[in-house]
Symmetry: C2
Subunit: 456 residues, 2 copies
């Protein structure tokens, strides 16, 4: 077996040729989406006005374990993939732990995160179907940036509804999206009925992700040759992100790395789901034992404190109903919460795996997360995104437990991205002005009250 | 010969074991530095109060072609090196050129640029000498960030004098430096005599690089166990940057790539010098013919319109005198000029090579540079730094010439970094508010008037 370098880069010809569809292996499938109007399971036709045909097929496919990555998408991936699997030698040394720590780093591209993996695929399929326009929403801006990059590459016109308060706080994110030719519309806007309604009701609002989704979906429906694309939660997005897990799996095989623990931050769940997918298949098949850990912010604890129920994907209640761990579509995380991971729900696939006991979840307050982020930056060099730093915190805690017990466990986590556009949050941490927020049971009850009736 | 992938990553064991000292190969050496007080060539003792001993040895070494990279520095390099040599397949396709375009990408680390290569070395030598404190200046912030990263790694205390107007315009750069534990002092400050003098004379000043250098040097001299470190221009900095050229040379040999043209942006010259060093040695030895091109901004044209003369490295006239192409230490580029490359002088080694006809230089106005940057971002994905984009513009022009002549030249350029912290400049380009500036002959004369007497 080859000696393990700091950074394991697979060869270009080792770039995965297929995505991994874990549903084909699951003993019990997630519940199908339901049409909120009829309460019946969604058909492809229900989804067709909003999503591309190929993506609908992937969304509903529960039988094929491997789904081919088209050559054109692989050509895009080759610009920034395979991504490195890094041995955190310096972090191990700083922690003085017997544990071996690895991280799969997805931040080496201009979108700054793993989001590009699904953007590349979604825009390719839109192009293939002859579409000329796409719409989406973005909060922190990583997804909007990724999609703009892919749209520039394939020559597709893009409108990004960006949560107004983010567009104002992150003018640089907006400039990156514009550099790639994307049009950024602060949401709520007067370009849609949904936007105008919200503005009329609440003229000073800073907007929300749910509102931006409603605007993007409305525009997609009203524009010719246009569809709406989403950056997380959905099954096809998680599928595209399995390129992360497939590469990691190959690298582990090549270098004889056997992870005891695999950790990922979880907002909508696409990164974590993508990372663990092939490993989870082994686990379900009884081929090996791995401790899978989802890490979420204490301020938006959908797995650790949410309910497993059917819910809408957006605040505007326009999406199909999905069975998932959710805080209720009306739940709003505290504005003091930094970065992403502020979604009320969780990938239906991950929710099902969690519900059936195949993985566990932990949550952390943000000051602890930033503490781990700074330690990581100082030892490993890379400045991590706040989202990714949740996984770092959990990995550090596991490594410290190994120090106590003397176990030399192999810990692997997903480092989804870089924090270059999150320096305002770092600044507040460094200045000691960052505060934590844990919703009270009453706060959660208010969110749960927005869940639809579960009477199918 | 292996097929050429999009990204050539050398193996970790191919990471260079030596830096390349091109002075050992040059037929005519650059003039030695001179002590401004005596007019005599500088000795090691002249430099010792300001610089580390090992660095002084490297600075003055004109005889050893290969200088060993200590194992400890290689361990640091392994965190982010070898850096990829990328075949710009997508840019070639967009330009429809028969040329083959390659770029060596140095932006995949949190400093966002090649600056980390010298920071890692300089801080290591400081630590080795038992120093506990370092000072430096930073303008755009890449160097300050790189140095903070290295200081965090080696446990050295760092004070960064950051040009006040930059510190105000780029609070996020400041936050990155602070994350790595560096102290950022907007310059001019009241912490030094130089700063207090400048503030008294000009209370509202936004500062300058020359002033920040003076403050950093003064603090280094007055602090125990402290030295000053510089991020470009000097011979030892250029030496450390040859890790770029050595990797590129190895990759070219491995894949049978024979560059006809090598292009780099040139501010102080360390990136370009580092990239071309081993190739230049071949050229000087008559082993092969390469067209070496330095690219500078039209607004700060030290090679294309400067004078080859002895000059100070800083506006405060505190450094030794260096024979170089210079616009005069008092030259100030227009404030409308984006990004770095605003230094009045140029590496003495590169100046000599240019003067002796071993390389040529071109200059571009910034709107043309940003046009090339946006084309590059849209086709190759990566958002380039404004500095690096000067090289992109020259490479695109060469590729378009190949399209006219039908020649399939191999063009290789240095992509020194990413532009994530330069979005204000991108924004002004996208908004159409960016303007160009070319100094008049009168503007240049004012700068030349600040040159010291050349009476040695």
């Amino acid at each position: 077996m080859a000696e393990i370098p700091y950074k394991i880069f697979l060869e270009e010809n080792e770039l995965p040729k297929t995505w991994h569809n874990v549903r084909a292996v699951m003993k019990d499938l997630p519940e199908p989406f339901r049409n909120p109007a009829t309460g019946k399971p969604c058909t492809a036709d229900d989804l067709r006005p909003v999503f591309c045909d190929d993506l609908i097929e992937q969304e509903l496919n529960t039988t094929d374990e491997y789904i081919e990555i088209p050559e054109e998408i692989r050509a895009f991936y080759k610009m920034y993939r395979p991504s490195p699997l890094v041995r955190a030698y310096n972090l191990e040394k700083a922690l003085d732990t017997p544990a071996k720590i690895y991280y799969k780093f997805e931040g080496n591209n201009t979108s700054g995160s793993h989001k590009l993996n699904s953007a590349a695929a979604q825009v390719y399929y839109a192009k293939k179907q002859g579409l000329t326009h796409l719409t989406t929403e973005t909060g922190a801006g990583q997804w909007g940036t990724a999609l703009a990059m892919a749209c520039a590459f394939y020559g597709i016109d893009l409108k990004v509804y960006m949560v107004k308060v983010s567009a104002e706080q992150k003018p640089h994110r907006k400039a990156v999206i514009r550099t790639y030719g994307g049009e950024v519309i602060p949401s709520p806007s007067d370009t849609t009925e949904a936007g105008r309604r919200i503005l009329a009701e609440n003229p000073g609002t800073g907007g929300s992700l749910g509102c931006a989704i409603s605007e993007a979906m409305e525009t997609a429906l009203k524009t010719e040759n246009c569809r709406y694309v989403l950056g997380s939660v959905l099954n096809h997005v998680l599928l595209h992100q399995t390129v992360i897990g497939e590469e990691t799996y190959t690298a582990c095989e090549k270098y004889g790395i056997e992870p005891d623990i695999i950790i990922g931050c979880a907002g909508g769940g696409s990164n974590l789901g993508g990372l663990i997918s092939p490993f989870m298949a082994d686990y379900i098949r009884g081929k090996r034992k791995i401790d899978f850990v989802a890490v979420e912010p204490a301020s938006c604890p959908s797995l650790t404190r949410g309910r497993y129920a059917f819910d809408f994907g957006d605040t505007g209640k326009t999406t199909p109903l999905m069975k998932m761990y959710t805080l209720g579509n009306g739940f709003m995380p505290s504005p003091n919460h930094a970065g992403g991971l502020r979604y009320h729900g969780m990938s239906p696939i991950l929710s099902k795996l969690y519900h059936d006991g195949y993985m566990r979840a932990v949550s952390y307050e943000q000051t602890k997360v930033f503490e781990a982020a700074v330690t990581f930056a100082k030892t490993e060099g890379t400045l991590p995104a706040p989202e990714s730093s949740h996984a770092i915190k959990a990995a550090v805690d596991e490594a410290m437990r190994c120090k106590e017990t003397g176990e030399a466990k192999t810990i692997l986590f997903g480092l989804t991205g870089t924090g270059y556009f999150d320096m305002t949050s770092y600044q507040s941490y460094l200045d000691g002005t960052m505060t934590d927020y844990i919703p009270t049971d009453e706060d959660l009850e208010k969110g749960f009250a927005t869940l639809p009736k579960q009477d199918f």
